[in-house]
Amino acid sequence: MMEKETKQERNERKARQRTVKKTIYFGLTLIAILAFIFGLMWASGVNKASNNTGRVNVDAVMADDQIIGDKDNVKAVLVEYSDFQCPACAFYAPLVKEILAEYEKAGLLFVYRHFPLTGHAHALIAAKAAEAAGLQGQFWPMHDLIFQHQDVWATQSSEKVREILLSYATDLGLEMEKFVSDMNSKVIEEKIQRDLISGRQSGVKGTPTFYLNDHEVSVRTLDQFKTLIEAALNTATSSKS
């Protein structure tokens, strides 16, 4: 009787041990599969990054492009195709600002071009407002205001968005009559269309898209951005000397 019980107990213990073993193997297999998949995704991501060569001379800077930097001392050109209503663009705006604060003097020229997406109902009017402010020398302050308060205006009705944009113009001390007529002008409309077309020709499929010296670059963090820009500036310096 006693022996039988222990035998049963032993069998149970063995069964338990087998289950634990199997479960561990199962878990390890899962981890191996996951590691394999992550490796695959990582490898494909790396390939994508190195194939990004949109060779369409996007960095030919136009006279009326919105730029930051010294046109007489250009070692690298960073072009952004952007949409004022795009959350990702708003995310990158302060990054670009930091980049410029650090590398503008070293010869980095930044060009902002419009790529208002059709999915964003207010992107076009925001672009027009920024350009209209630009005609009074206030493109960048307007650009900053629009991005900083994107979450405030982006979800409003068209009428309200217009009101908000006008209030920004007032805050910047713009001449309002001129601002309003500029916003509706053909010149600005055509300029935005020109940016859109040049973007499409360069292969822009979303916003923001950055081109550094004519090559599309994709970055996620400030450090990645800095590394790329420093490399571009260094090659420019070393090839000149």
Partner: protein, 144 residues
Amino acid sequence: MNNKKLAGALIILGFLGLLDASYLTFNHYSGESLKCLVVSGCDVVTTSSYSVWFGFLPVALLGVLFYFITLLMAFLVYETGSLQFKKILFSWSVLGGLVASWFLYVQAFLIEDYCSYCLISFVLTMLIVLGSGFIYFKSNKIAS
């Protein structure tokens, strides 16, 4: 469908969920840039402040963890058929279901935008809750 087959189905569901969450986690950590695409809209959801807990824990990684443990539990149910494991699996998946529901709410009412991979994950989690509930209550009835 008997319990063993159902547990097998849960393993498959859990595995799909694991793939889905891994993809989201990879996107979170990889150098892929954020974009609003002409065709498919913005990745607002996966980059929102709700996508990270306590400032460092991406929700997608929590998803990976959830599905991993679910898979181990489902495997144990599959192997042993023990009521204890069925109960744990069910409770655990209900917990996951609650978290998934919260994120559905966040997407619908707070961000007002959806991410397709998150919706897939929600559906998978709900199916796991249903399946594990079915297994648990069925055998609980037999036992009592």
